[in-house]
Each structure stands twice: as structure tokens, then as C-alpha cells.
Amino acid sequence: MRRNGLLALVDWKALTILVALMVMGLVNLWSASEGMGVPFYQRQLLWLAVGGFFGLLVFSIDYRHYEGLAYLLYGLGMGLLVVVLLIGVEVGGAKRWIEMGWLRFQPSEYMKLGLVIGLARYFYRRPRPRGYSLRDLAVPFLMVLGPAALVALEPDLGTALLLFLIFFGVVLFCGIRRRSLLILLAALASSAPLGWSLLKDYQRRRILAFLDPYSDPLGSGYHLIQSKIAVGSGGLWGKGFLGGTQCKLQFLPQYHTDFAFALLGEEWGFVGCAIVLILFLLLILWGLETAFKAKDRFGAVIAVGVTAMIFIHVAVNIGMVLGMLPVVGLPLPFFSYGGSCTVAHVMGVGLLLNVRSRRHLLAPRRT
């Protein structure tokens, strides 16, 4: 196949889905901005533009060049995670941001991509046609444990958990021996009590609040109930743009970030939510297809890692807003206000487009 410019490489179908999600997220944030009297949507627009620029950059360089840079990118992310613990800015009791002049960014968001690329290189270089054993997985496990531990120290348990889930998704995709999988699951189940004892008090209360929303009426239980009321009151058609009384009246303090979907549910109803869900579903299925159709294992693992990242964000966030999961601080991509999260997810889609579009080009050097 002949190379005729970047434009010919673009998968227009996926790009359309991406832009549609961005526009809907921005409209939703506009409504949130009206309610809070702070123009979040303006800055979000800026972040989308920044994300678009970096997404394009990530897309335009053939992804196979990333292989040589993989550990460098991973190391850079790790370095930033250490820096944030040392000189990070503390907001609401969590040290998650690095501030440089007017610029404030959240290294853990970019670490997700760094981890995916790092894992991709590892699995690319060590093919195991009969599946990976536990011993094979020791190194990639440490590759996740490092950043997850640093992120958990911030503390940001949601993102730490997300890193493990991405790893899990990648391992399932690459193939794991059945026995190893069973041992892994058993170990996971038995370590749960230990994990519980390591949790901070507010984190435990969140989980308990999910199991019994009335157990913590002052904190997260209250958020869950208000979130359900907001979504539920939207009904089939919703109350219309700027019509969300429940959220507008500040029952939910984070409706521009983690609970943005609650506002969407209230204003656009079941129909609006279903459209957004289906768009996300299409994007994720397309991402999986990209993985299965990738030319080489490196691209395939990148695609499955990024897809897992988006999928987990969407499923955990919406599950939380709908009261199906505990209040875990994971934002909804393109809907929640936040610079680093937005830029990282647009870059992620850029990577997917990259792998997708180059599946017919040149023979891979190695399989």
C-alpha cells in the first residue's frame, strides 16, 4: 500500500465518535459552569485543543518508533510521580499535582500511557505462544506495582487500582496459563483483607457507604443518594439543557468533575445517557478491534492497554454515579473537567488511531 499523507491514514469513523463525545462533554460542562458560576467549559476547550495537538503529534509518528523510547517514557512518568510526592501541590488532602507557573498537571494521568507503552515493549520482546507463566509476569507486575504504589501514596487509590486493572487486561489479552490465572485470582482474593487494613479511613467509609448508602449520611453515602436522585429525576427525556435543578442546587459538590454524568442524566435523561454510552461502547469496540487487527504485538498491546484504560474509566465512573460501585475518584473521559485527564485520553485515542492506521504498512521486524 502506498503512503499518501497522514490524512489518508486517519480512521474517520473513530475520529467522528471522538469529536462527538468531546462536544457532548463540553456542552455538559457548559451547563455545570452556569450552575457553579465558574466557566469551566472555556478552560476545558483549551485542554481539548492541547489534547488535540498532542494527539496529532502522537498519531503522526509511526508507533513502532515508540518501542525504542518505551522505557524512557515509562521512566519519565515514574520520575514525575516521585517529584509530585516531593514538591506536589496539595489539594483537599491529596498531593496529585505539579505546579509550574500557571501550568498545573497531574503526572498519574500520563503514567497510564507510560505504563501501557512500557508493558507493550516488554510483551513484544518476550513472546510466549503457550501463554505466560507467573514467573514471566514477575517483571511486568513490578512495572505496575511501582507506579501504583507511588500513586497510592498521593493518595489516589482509584488511579492505583486502574493501573492494576490495565495490567490485568493486557495479561489476559497476551495469554496467561490457566493455572497461573487461577493462582493469581486466589492470591488477589486472599490479599483483600490486607488491602482493607491499608486503606485510609475516608476510603473505607466510601466502600461501606456503597454497601449501605445510609451508613454514612454525612459523606459519600450522601453523594451516592444525591447522585441517584439527580440521574433518576431526569426520566426518559431529561429536563433539558440548563434544566438540572438537582445538581444546580449543589447537592453534589463535584458535578463538574467526577459526577459530571449525574448532570448529564438529569438534563438529557435516559435517551441522552444511552447515546453517550453507545458512543463510548463503539469507541471501545473499535479499540479492541484495533488490537486484534494490529500488525504486530507491540501495537496490539498498546491498543488493548489504551482501550482498557478508557473502558475502565467509563465503567467505573458511570457505575459509581449510578450507585453500582463505591465512590472511586475516577473521572469520566471528555465529560469530567480536568486538564491532564483530558489531554491523556485524547493522546490515548491518538495512539489507537496510530496503531489502527498503520496495520497495513510495511512488514514488522519481529513478531
Binding site: 458560576g37 483537599g92 488532602g93 491529596a94 513472546p127 505462544p129 489476559l172 489479552f173 495469554g175 445510609y214 449520611p217 454525612l218 450522601y222 443518594i225 444525591q226 441517584k228 436522585i229 439527580a230 440521574v231 433518576g232 429525576s233 431526569g234 426520566g235 426518559l236 435543578t245 438537582q246 442546587l249 449543589q250 447537592f251 442524566g265 435523561g269 435516559f270 445517557c273 444511552a274 454510552l277 453507545i278 463510548f280 461502547l281 471501545i284 469496540l285 479492541l288 488490537a291 486484534f292 487487527k293 494490529a294 500488525k295 504486530d296 504485538r297 501495537g299 496490539a300 473502558f311 465503567a315 458511570i318 457505575g319 449510578l322 450507585g323 453500582m324 496495520r359 514488522p364 513478531t367
Partner: protein, 606 residues
């Protein structure tokens, strides 16, 4: 050819991935359908006609006790009037209707209920401490003014009005700035928290945990039912080392003066009394202090809000001779029996330095020089010891750094040294050495540092971190934390040097030529040292205090401990612009020590 298919990846496994994703989204969609379509009506009802609200309930603040278990700070109930802005239909007519009931201007009420940037469901406090008349007027009109709510809330109260005001500190409503820093700790708009003193230092223990009720209210904001309730948990009680009677005595002694008194238990560093004058009434702060009153306190030239015991900075004056003498003895720079001459004048370079006694003291040994506080003897001693050693001994005696008392805003003071001057590119002159030897110049110490210094001399050389609290007790009566004496360092003195020093200090009060005679108590041996911190520069002739305007008069110091053979109290007294330490400060120390001995006597009898 795709790698996955090429390498024999099974289409079945690929399908598992697709189905997992589709199933998850299916679940989310089902849940949405359930919430929005099946239960949508119910949620819409909850959302619109009725509302679920969170009503927070303030906890009782932990109490503060003195060393004998007498309550110093407690809570009292107060009827406060709140408004929930959301329930007010027409804000202006509401303010008009409410104003006459409270005797407040309607604009003030309107201002309070129309604040931006806070949830309209959060109750706004309109007025605290309603009188019975106001309460009954409001009860009658309540139905016409929906949105009003009267709650009984706990308010800080100090049982001995104004006693130990600086030490106990103040409580006040949280400011926006404090809120942004402390939101993670669970503070909200309208909460009270410790602002100064112990109330601030022990805030985390004293505050308690808020409780709350989840209530369903009707369109008028009336509570229909309580869905869930969590009781508030009272704060933890704080027990102090302070003695109520001694504190009261210290404050009486300072009445009408500006200054500070600190009394420590020399064997532990425990603060027995800490008074600062002039003072103020902390109860006024608990309810939000009226602006004009705060202005008056803040602009008062005597700074009544400042805790002079830890924030007042004065030159140590002749009290510092204790340190110079200790340094000279410990370093072998003087033979204690060696006599130096004082003729009233001491020429050094181009200048002439004077003794406070114009006609001079004649020949003096170390002990007499301390007893009579001879300046010229100490000029010579200072030159022998040198400024570097004087500075390092000053630091060893605890000057120039915070004592570490658990109170906010303590000052470290300042010890001048050649190194400090070199850093500013200046030379150190011998003239500065002699000035330093008698504790004048840029030298600055706090009364607490002085008390700790003399306590260390009294107890045989241990410098303690001053202790204000003995323990923290939770509402069930269980001890949560207890505080033990914490030695911070030792004076670098041998027992022999220390004994000589103590003999001289005893002479200051007991010898008939002693400058501290005024602290003499028949039947009790008191040891101490006077000091006078110069305010105006040394002139040709030392003027008597009565010859100077008040603000140019010297500060009077006295440090003491008693009984000299087995000290149970160490005191530092400073009286601003009081003149000579011997006449202005020593009598105060005497009275305080007498009070303490009688308190101890009573304790022994029972």
C-alpha cells in the same frame, strides 16, 4: 495479516473480550433504565416537591481543666437563629419582616442571606445568643417567615472570665482562607475552631466530630422525617499544668501594668502560671467579636491581644549576668575570689561606660558583683570571656531559639554575636562586648525563656521544654495522650560552678546589699536576680525612672526560684517601663512565690 490471527490467537478469546465489554455496557444501560424510567417518578418527587437535606450537628468542644481538675473552659447552650436561604421566597420582604424582631437593620440580614458562593441549603447564622424576648417574638411570627430555624448550639465559655486569656486563646468562626486549607479535615462554612493559644494548638483534640441528620423536608423547609442520624462526638478534654489560684494571683499582680509573669515547676518545666497584661476577654471572640471592639483591641498601643510571655521581646538586662558568670567560671576565665575594681566609670577606647551606681562599688569578687549587680565588674568579665563564648553560653541557656512550648506564635528572640555581624559585613567592637555582658544591646529574650533559664539553674542544670498540658482525656474518660517532662538539654556547668552561682543568687535576695531584697520572704530562702532592660540609649548619666516619660523608662526584670534548697517554683517577671528590676519586678515575684507556697501548704494539709 494481523499479528493476533497470524500467531494463532483464537477467535473465541477475542469474542470473550467483546462480550465482556458489551455485557458491562448492557448492565449500565439496564441500571439507567431502572433509575430513570422505572423509578424516575419517585426520584423526581424526591428531587422537586420534597428534598433530602443534610443537617449537621455541632459537637461539644472539649473542656479545659487546670492541674487540680477545675474547669477553665466549657460549653454553654445558645439559641441561635438560622435561615435557609433556599426556603425564603422573597428575600427583601423577609429581611424587612425579620429586622424589627431582632433589632437589626434589614440590610444586614439581606446581606447575610444573599451571600454568593455557598449552598442555598446551608443554614446561615443570622444572630447568636437570642434573648428570651427575641426568641418569643420569633416563635410567634415563625409561620409567616418560612426558612427561619432556631437551633440550640454549644458555644465556648470561659468560667473565670478573662483568666489566662492569652494562654487559653480564642475560638471563632472559620474564615474562607482557613476553610480552603482545612476542608479535607471536615470543616464547613460556619464551623467554629480554635484561633489562638491552646484552643488553636489543641484544635484537633478539642474539636470533636460533627454529627448529622439526613432529613426529608417539605417545600417550606420543615422537616418531615429523619432518614438517618449520626450523633456528634464531643471533643477530648485537655488537662493543664496551670494552677488556677496562682494564675489568678499573677494576673492580679500585673493589674494596671504592662508586662508578663511566667511560673514554672523547675523539676518538670510545667507551666504553673502564665500571665500577660494588659489582657482581654476571650468570651467576646466566641460569638464573633464586634468589629469596633476588635479594632480597639488591635490598635491599642499596649497590644492587649499579644501574649507577652511567649511573644514579648525584651533585652535580658542584668539577668544575663548569670550566664556571663557561668561562662567565666566554667571556662576558667576568672578566679571567684579575684577582686576587680569598680570606680563608677569604665573607659574603653574612645568611650566611657558607666556602672548603674554612679559612685562605684569599689573592689568586688564574683559573688558580690552578682549580688550588687556591678556593671563594671561584668564589663571586665565580658571582655575576658569574649562575645563568641557569651553567645554560645546564651544559646546553651536556651536563648535565641523557641522553647518549643505547644502554643502558636512563640518568638525565638535573638542573641547577637560576631558571626551575626560578620554575615552583615560589619565588625564587632569591644564596646559591643561590654554592652552584651550586662544584657543590653540588640539582645532579645522572651519571659518564658527567662523562666526556663532560671528553672534550669534551680533544678541542677536541666533545660526542659515547657509543658502546658498533662493529658488529653476522651469523653469516656480514657486517657488518649499524656505528656511527660521533656529535657531539651543540659547547662554546660559542673556541679561546683552551679553551686557557686546559686550561692550568689541567694545572696541577691538575702544579702543586705542585694539588689533583690524586695523579694525577701521571712522564713523562706529565695534566690533570684534583678535586671533592667534599657529602652532609651545609655546617656551620660543614668536617669531615675521618675525623671523619664513612661515610654522611655526601662523594663524591670526579676527572675527567682524558691525555696532555694529545694525549689518548687521558678518565676520570671517583666514589668514594661517599670524602671528598676529590684523595685518594680521583685515584689511581684515575692507575692507570687508566697501564694505558691501557701497553695502547696494547703495541699500538704489535705
Amino acid at each position: 495479516m494481523a499479528w493476533y490471527a497470524n500467531k494463532g490467537g483464537s477467535p473465541a478469546r477475542a469474542k470473550v473480550f467483546y462480550w465482556m465489554v458489551v455485557a458491562t455496557f448492557g448492565l449500565l444501560l439496564l441500571r439507567l433504565w431502572h433509575l430513570q424510567v422505572i423509578e424516575g417518578e419517585e426520584f423526581r418527587r424526591l428531587c422537586e416537591s420534597n428534598r433530602i437535606r443534610l443537617v449537621k450537628v455541632a459537637p461539644l468542644r472539649g473542656r479545659i481543666f487546670d492541674r487540680k481538675g477545675r474547669i477553665l473552659a466549657d460549653n454553654r447552650p445558645s439559641f441561635d437563629l438560622f435561615v435557609i436561604p433556599e426556603d425564603v421566597k422573597d428575600k427583601e420582604s423577609f429581611a424587612e419582616g425579620l429586622a424589627p424582631l431582632l433589632g437589626m437593620p434589614p440590610e444586614e440580614i439581606l446581606g447575610k442571606i444573599s451571600q454568593r458562593g455557598r449552598s442555598p441549603f446551608q443554614p446561615v447564622r443570622i444572630k447568636g445568643d437570642l434573648t428570651w424576648e427575641e426568641l418569643s417574638r420569633i416563635k410567634i411570627r415563625q409561620m409567616e417567615l418560612p426558612g427561619l430555624k432556631v437551633s440550640v448550639v454549644p458555644v465556648r465559655t470561659y468560667l473565670y472570665r478573662g483568666l489566662a486569656a492569652h494562654l487559653l486563646g480564642t475560638v471563632g468562626e472559620i474564615t474562607r482562607e482557613e476553610l480552603s486549607r482545612r476542608r479535607a479535615k471536615g470543616y464547613d462554612i460556619g464551623d467554629y475552631l480554635g484561633k489562638t493559644g491552646l484552643e488553636a494548638a489543641w484544635e484537633d483534640y478539642l474539636r470533636g466530630l460533627k454529627g448529622g441528620r439526613q432529613v426529608e423536608v417539605d417545600a417550606l423547609g420543615r422537616e418531615l422525617r429523619v432518614l438517618r442520624e449520626v450523633e456528634p462526638i464531643p471533643g477530648w478534654d485537655l488537662h493543664l499544668t496551670l494552677d488556677l489560684d496562682l494564675q489568678r494571683k499573677a494576673e492580679e499582680l500585673l493589674k494596671g501594668k504592662a508586662g508578663a509573669i511566667v511560673a514554672l515547676d523547675p523539676s518538670s518545666g510545667a507551666v504553673l502560671a502564665m500571665a500577660s497584661a494588659p489582657s482581654y476577654d476571650p468570651a467576646a471572640f466566641a460569638r464573633g467579636i464586634p468589629l469596633e471592639m476588635w479594632k480597639k483591641l488591635n490598635e491599642d498601643p499596649l497590644h492587649p491581644l499579644t501574649n507577652r510571655a511567649i511573644r514579648g521581646l525584651y533585652a535580658p538586662g542584668s539577668v544575663f549576668k548569670i550566664v556571663v558568670a557561668a561562662a567565666a567560671l566554667a571556662e576558667g576565665r576568672v578566679d571567684p575570689d579575684e577582686r576587680l575594681h569598680c570606680g563608677g566609670l569604665f573607659p574603653l577606647g574612645q568611650k566611657v561606660f558607666r556602672c548603674w551606681k554612679e559612685e562605684g562599688h569599689g573592689w568586688m569578687d564574683l559573688k558580690q558583683a552578682i549580688i550588687q549587680s556591678c556593671d563594671i565588674y561584668f564589663y571586665q568579665l565580658g571582655l575576658r570571656v569574649g562575645p563568641e563564648l557569651m553567645a554560645s553560653y546564651a544559646e546553651a541557656f536556651g536563648f535565641g531559639r523557641c522553647t518549643g512550648i505547644e502554643l502558636p506564635g512563640e518568638k525565638a528572640g535573638f542573641v547577637p554575636s560576631p558571626a551575626w555581624k560578620a554575615k552583615r559585613g560589619e565588625r564587632w567592637y569591644d564596646g559591643e562586648t561590654v554592652v552584651m555582658a550586662i544584657g543590653q544591646g540588640p539582645f532579645l529574650v522572651t519571659p518564658l525563656q527567662m523562666a526556663r533559664m532560671i528553672a534550669a539553674v534551680a533544678n541542677g542544670g536541666v533545660l526542659y521544654q515547657p509543658l502546658v498540658a498533662t493529658e488529653v482525656i476522651d469523653p469516656e474518660g480514657k486517657g488518649v495522650r499524656s505528656y511527660r517532662p521533656r529535657p531539651m538539654g543540659r547547662l554546660p556547668l559542673s556541679p561546683r560552678v552551679l553551686r557557686r552561682l546559686k550561692e550568689a543568687l541567694l545572696g541577691v535576695v538575702e544579702d543586705e546589699k542585694g539588689t533583690g531584697r524586695a523579694a525577701h520572704i521571712p522564713g523562706v530562702s529565695v534566690a533570684g536576680k534583678t535586671g533592667t532592660a534599657q529602652v532609651a540609649k545609655m546617656g551620660q548619666r543614668r536617669l531615675k525612672p521618675s525623671e523619664l516619660p513612661y515610654e522611655l523608662r526601662d523594663h524591670a526584670w526579676f527572675v527567682a526560684y524558691a525555696p532555694a534548697e529545694a525549689p518548687t517554683i521558678a518565676v520570671a517577671v517583666v514589668v514594661e517601663h517599670g524602671g528598676h528590676g529590684g523595685s518594680a519586678a521583685a515584689p511581684l515575684a515575692r507575692e507570687l512565690i508566697k501564694e505558691w507556697l501557701s497553695i502547696e501548704g494547703e495541699a500538704d494539709e489535705t
